[in-house]
Symmetry: C2
Subunit: 327 residues, 2 copies
């Protein structure tokens, strides 16, 4: 079972939903093809924070809450997330995630690509009924956005002439949009007013932006051990994140950083260390955390007043957690 319960006590309020979710996920990944079931179980055991379904449940609790009725969308959300991670790990040639071996490292790229497709299809099949047309529509559009975000990221790799704005557009498509839609779907399931649905979407968007920027900060500050994947991995792949872009613009050694990055695909550990040193010589990390704080403030301000204070409190806690997390 996932490890979401230990670190994220902020999700206590939706413990019922998250527990049931684990069981439903385990049931749904069962396949006639044994390897597919094995991969699914492996992914489930690898755990994860279940951030998206947790936010979905939290927002759903702000109104009418019928767990059985709203469960398929929660399962679909997590399956889609799992599918994108599986494909991501293929794209990044990653061998570990959350300190656990990835599907591609374990079963090969081919099987991992198919497993991702399978999880996508399973997700859609769960919501392919009249009750869930809106969810399906939002989720499919969201996946298109995620793919576009990833494609733009590949295009922009090693491009030292991009701006903070390009980065923000990209992480919105890649990450924040999906978290926003998870909140939106919860609010819709709760039967909230149009204004409140929009407000919770905005909350999710801001939390998502903060989440991704934190992730990108950790790539240049955390140890591999804490991350459960190699540190500096993004930078090595030419993915230029906020701290890197900031340092490119502000560092007195900006030209050196440019040269190190544009040297291309095969950055040595030494050069990676030099890049990270240059970044840390600026206030790039501070600046990036400032951005995180701004998004989190915006998330807090987005919370609709009509939402029950217990739910509102939990949503605030999630925002705080995002800003403080170290992994």
């Amino acid at each position: 079972m996932g490890d979401y319960m230990k670190p994220l006590t902020v999700f206590d309020l939706v413990h019922d939903g998250l527990s049931l979710l684990e069981m439903e996920l385990a049931a749904v990944i069962e396949s006639e093809a044994e390897i597919m079931t094995d991969i699914g179980l492996h992914l489930l055991r690898a755990g994860g924070k279940r951030l998206r379904p947790a936010l979905y449940f939290l927002c759903a609790k702000a109104g009418t809450y019928n767990l059985t009725k709203i469960m398929p969308v929660a399962v679909a959300i997590e399956l889609i997330h799992m599918a994108t991670l599986v494909h991501d790990d293929v794209l990044d040639n990653a061998s570990t995630r959350r300190s656990i071996i990835t599907a591609n490292a374990c079963w090969g790229n081919n099987t991992a690509v198919l497993a991702g497709d399978y999880l996508f299809a399973k997700a859609f099949s769960l919501v392919s009924n009249r009750d869930n047309n809106i969810a399906l529509n939002l989720l499919t559009r969201e996946i298109c956005d995620i793919c576009e975000g990833e494609i733009i990221q590949i295009r922009d790799n090693f491009n030292v002439d991009q701006h903070e704005k390009d980065y923000l557009v990209r992480i919105n498509k890649k990450t924040a949009g999906f978290i926003a839609v998870s909140c939106q779907l919860g609010a819709l399931a709760a039967g909230l007013s149009e204004a409140d649905v929009k407000a919770l979407y905005n909350y999710g968007y801001a939390v998502g932006m903060a989440f991704q920027i934190t992730d990108d900060i950790l790539d240049v500050t955390a140890s591999s051990e804490k991350l459960g994947k190699p540190a500096g991995n993004d930078l090595k792949q030419g993915i230029l994140t906020l701290p890197v872009l900031y340092a490119l613009g502000k560092s007195s050694r900006g030209a050196e950083l440019r040269t190190l990055i544009t040297a291309g695909d095969n950055m040595t550990e030494d050069n990676l260390k030099r890049c990270i040193d240059i970044i840390h010589d600026t206030d790039a990390v501070e600046y990036s955390y400032q951005k995180v704080a701004e998004y989190l403030a915006s998330a807090r301000n987005s919370l609709p007043k009509s939402v029950d204070c217990k739910i509102g409190h939990a949503l605030l806690q999630v925002a705080d957690f995002i800003g403080l997390r170290q992994y």
Copy 2:
């Protein structure tokens, strides 16, 4: 635009649908991410027989035929097919298909994986409305089957102890099921009786089995030029098709064939030629064509009598075309 019109005059009856389909496909693949649009256009220009939507249209013509209403499912069917081909080419590391460079060869594996995901999501987004719930349900289950089929294929690669039955299960999941569902969806769109829907499903299944077996025969008989991809490609990858399995069981040089295949991944051109010679020394190709003929007879016998004779005639012609095709 696709080249479906030239070879497949059997599809004249649904020329209206197929023409409109090309336009709709071109409109739907338009993306904010320019590369995504480029890949989509590349795939469209690469053409294809449009077999699945053509069968869908043909079956739909057997009853009420409202082209505007039934078009989204046709577009979804072809997008899903395109997505599976894009991912297939990544899995096979293929550099050409229909004599045209593949997406992975042109843009790299990463972009191709994402492009496939994008096409899947676009397909589902088209049918994510109340009118198309049944279609969506059938299509998502079909994609799960296709993934399972491909996974089983990877598992069975180089396994000389598999039987004809394993092969038939695999190609049903991998190919025939989708063609069957395309016919089923057409019949449902036409508002045919349950019995006729089932009959057209069976027709599609049989046509699909014949189609895949023909494909597998061509892999050991046709020239690379005619195929638009390298001949013997499946065998090289350890995909054991009907003629190969037959020869393994019947050839006096069966043991030699076993050894050549189980030697693994890096079959030389010389050894590939030896394998193909061993296969041709048996009546494997004849036997396989016999199977094709049986499936085509079953397809013909499945056609419901209630279907208009013009439609029935076209469906018979499609069956004949499948059996005679040389590429």
